[in-house]
């Protein structure tokens, strides 16, 4: 029984992090691209397209962190003390990014500064998240339930590659969101960006995937050992198919399809990460079951999650429905 609940909780945290990456991914992506847009109408429109939803999106990050503390307290303490520097950088970057949503409208004299705070904060947050992903994949030194490494261990060529890759992928998500939510010249610019970012994302996925295989023999075996390779091969194949469909939809002027196909690529990458890491929570060091919280805590939280999570999804969906359609510099209009 305990075993099953640990799996359920691993899935819930996985889901929360995925939803976070998708939702805040397009917010952060718009931030990363922000300085490529013309000052005035285009920047105002890009910002307004996410203004009503950004802090709901960021709440999934709190659920990812809080959920990890609740469901896998050992992993929560180990991972975040090991990834100290990039995590603090991400938190501070999110401060700059978040306040810019309000501050840039309140102080036209310093709008350039708050625009920089928005784009710089978004970029640094995205790179930090990617660096943390890379650092986690390459492993964390642990002895006796405590982090045993130094405070620069996270910094390697691999973690820098994952950092840049995540920023590129978020930018792609942001560009396809703008294709969906805007019109005219801005939409055309976003479509053009999406094409190049799509190519870059595909390269990044390839480099990170191959890099991961050579990080440890365990990763290599999880993907290439016979007959397991037959079970996991559909993941890269589906990435290739989604990419082709993405290119076609972008070229043929679709507005929604590029965004959805980018989401499907994100989901496939997440499944791939799951295949690489499972059944560990800290690769090669701590399994899900070793880090899992007490059974009573799992049950207590599952009741709440089962009741509340569908309600959250319902009213979050409603909020997106309220702000459906195209946006312009004046915000959403009916």
């Amino acid at each position: 029984m305990n075993t099953d609940l640990t799996m359920i909780w691993a899935f819930i945290i996985f889901l929360a992090v995925f939803i976070y990456v998708v939702l805040d991914g397009f917010d952060l992506g718009i931030g990363i691209l922000f300085h490529r847009f013309k000052v005035g109408h285009d920047r105002d429109t890009a910002m307004n397209s996410v203004a009503p939803v950004w802090d709901g999106n960021e709440t999934w990050l709190v659920l990812g962190g809080g959920g990890l503390l609740a469901a896998f307290p050992l992993a929560y303490g180990l991972i975040f003390s090991a990834l100290y520097a990039p995590l603090i950088a991400m938190l501070l970057a999110l401060v700059f990014r978040g306040v810019a949503f309000e501050f840039r409208w309140r102080d036209s004299g310093h709008r350039r500064f708050w625009d920089l705070s928005f784009s710089g904060g978004s970029l640094l947050a995205a790179v930090s998240q990617g660096v943390m992903l890379g650092a986690l994949l390459q492993g964390i030194a642990i002895s006796d339930r405590a982090y045993a490494g130094g405070w620069w261990d996270w910094l390697t060529p691999f973690s820098i590659i994952t950092g840049v890759s995540v920023a590129i992928a978020y930018a792609l998500l942001g560009a396809t969101w703008l294709v969906l939510k805007t019109e005219g010249a801005l939409q055309k610019q976003a479509r053009n960006m999406a094409w190049w970012l799509g190519c870059a994302t595909l390269v990044a996925i390839g480099v990170v995937s191959v890099g991961t295989l050579f990080l440890s023999e365990a990763y290599f075996a999880k993907w290439l050992a016979w007959p397991r390779v037959l079970w996991v091969a559909p993941v890269p194949l589906l990435v290739a198919l989604s990419s082709l469909a993405f290119a076609r939809s972008l070229r043929s002027g679709h507005e929604l399809a590029p965004f959805l196909l980018t989401l499907s690529v994100f989901l496939l990458c997440f499944v791939g990460l799951g295949i690489s890491v499972f059944p560990d929570v800290i690769p090669g060091a701590v399994t899900l079951w070793a880090a899992a919280t007490d059974h009573s805590s799992q049950v207590f939280m599952l009741w709440g999650t089962a009741i509340v999570l569908p309600m959250i999804l319902a009213y979050t969906g409603w909020s997106y429905w309220v702000f459906r359609g195209k946006v312009d510099a004046h915000g959403y209009h009916s």
Partner: protein
């Protein structure tokens, strides 16, 4: 001197700094969300446009404060892991679920409906918009419920057992954990504090505009509403605070000894030390001005009741007396001033001079930040008073921290201080700019519209647009 700033002390300073900054924002948003709900409710009920004007005036300030609360709050939710990993590991099975419930039942509710509350009036209509406001207000309340339950459990732990990995786990039912002994008192005391914080901010803004134009009906309205809160809630808070203190005496007597400055035991009636300088090296209060036996009367309701002092406690378990002693007195002094302003305003109201008596307005203006300062002082009293423990009597602060190198913590602390002062300093400036503008009739909706040259989209046009799409009746 330098060994004082080891990694542990740096981590404590960092937590104290980031949580103190963060706490100011929810202290405002809890009260302000309810105030906004009251304003919108009264507008729907009476149709009086001044209520909607005040709603729109304050919602711009609410949006700024809420945004700062969100970003500083995310820092808190990760700081347990970065700096207090041993505490997270050992206490996680208890505090983790409570904090997860806070995210699920409060944060999503607030964030999910905030977009509609800020930008959705013309898209969803009056009824649904009011519902959104109510949901945001409910979210702030539920958030306070869970996080104060966590904090109270660390003050008065209950309902736990230990497992083989030395983790705190639920012994059986979760109810004794959630409703631990100090929780109901702390919740009531903190919520009233948040309402008072908002009331005195609103009162000061109203007073400021009355001093400039005592005929402005919206300034009158907000000042009057705020002064009713001061008159009614400030005395309630004194009663609730007293009950909370008695609860602390029962469960955390050492904290009360530090608050009172009682180094020595008093077998036949303890004095109330009004002022003095706690001297922990000599275990006495220097230059004490004290009233004999009053402390026993307040705490035990008996002039001659014996009260133990810190001399009955091993010195390794003493909290830093000076900090607790002074922060407690600052809170009490501000509480009494608040009740005083409430009484004076009632006096002026009865005499029909509420909007004319300028000394009252100046007093109210000066009291604007009193709630914020009192909240911080109270928080410092209860948190520093719990030291040297993170979980009272069970887990020491010294055994809770992550194994981090001091330079890493020092660097992050410097970064937090620089960023918080710069960013939130700018935010406070913007809030004060908004507060300096008088509340006008037909305040525009808080759409994120750039400040543009006059004539393109005048505020009045946006107002009319809203009315046309079901925004309400125009006077």
């Amino acid at each position: 001197m330098f060994e004082f700033f080891d990694a542990l002390m740096l981590a404590r300073v960092q937590f104290a700094f980031t949580v103190s900054f963060h706490f100011l924002f929810p202290a405002i948003t809890i009260g302000l969300a309810s105030y906004l709900a009251v304003l919108e409710g009264l507008w729907l009920k009476t149709g009086c446009d001044d209520y909607m004007s005040l709603y729109r005036y304050w919602i711009r300030i609410f949006a700024l404060v809420f945004g700062m609360g969100v970003v500083s709050g995310i820092v808190m939710s990760y700081q347990f892991g970065t700096n207090w990993s041993v505490f997270s590991d050992r206490a996680g099975p208890i505090i983790g679920p409570l904090m997860a419930y806070e995210v699920l039942t409060a944060f999503f509710l607030e964030a999910g409906f905030l977009g509609v509350m800020l930008f959705g009036m013309s898209r969803v209509g009056k009824g649904l918009h009011f519902t959104a406001t109510l949901m945001v207000a409910l979210g702030t309340f539920v958030s306070a419920f869970w996080i104060l339950s966590v904090n109270s459990w660390m003050q008065t732990p209950a309902g736990y057992a230990m497992n083989a990995d030395d983790q705190f786990i639920a012994a059986g039912s979760w109810l004794p954990i959630i409703f631990n002994p100090s929780f109901p008192y702390r919740l009531a005391h903190t919520l009233l504090a948040a309402y008072l914080t908002t009331a005195f901010l609103v009162g000061a803004v109203g007073a400021w505009h009355l001093l400039k134009d005592r005929a402005n009906p919206r300034a009158r309205l907000m000042f009057s509403m705020a002064m009713w809160m001061a008159t009614i809630v400030a005395p309630m808070q004194i009663v609730v605070g007293d009950l909370h203190g008695l609860n602390t005496l029962e469960h955390q007597p050492i904290k009360v000894m530090a608050m009172e400055g009682h180094y020595q035991s008093h077998p036949d009636g303890a004095p109330l030390i009004v002022f003095g300088i706690p001297n922990s090296a000599e275990q006495r209060v220097d230059y004490a001005i004290q009233i004999p036996k009053l402390s026993s009367l307040i705490l035990k309701h008996d002039l001659n009741a014996p009260l133990d002092g810190l001399d009955t406690v091993p010195s390794v378990d003493h909290p830093p007396v000076g900090v607790v002693f002074w922060s407690f007195r600052i809170m009490i002094a501000l509480g009494l001033l608040m009740a005083g302003l409430g009484a004076l305003s009632l006096f002026a109201r009865v005499r029909g001079k509420l909007y004319e008596w300028r000394p009252l307005h100046r007093f109210a203006l000066m009291m604007g930040p009193s709630g914020l300062i009192a909240v911080l002082a109270g928080w410092i009293t209860t948190e520093v008073g719990r030291q040297p423990w993170t979980i009272q009597g069970l887990m020491r602060t010294a055994e809770s921290a992550s194994p981090l190198a001091a330079p890493a913590v020092a660097a992050s602390l410097v970064a937090f201080v620089l960023v918080y002062f710069a960013v939130f300093g700018a935010g406070v400036l913007y809030i004060m700019k908004l507060m300096a503008k008088p509340p006008m009739p037909h305040e525009p909706e808080p759409n994120n519209v750039p400040e543009r040259a006059a004539g393109t989209t005048p505020a009045a046009a946006i107002w009319t647009e809203t009315l046309a799409s079901g925004g309400g009746s125009n006077a």
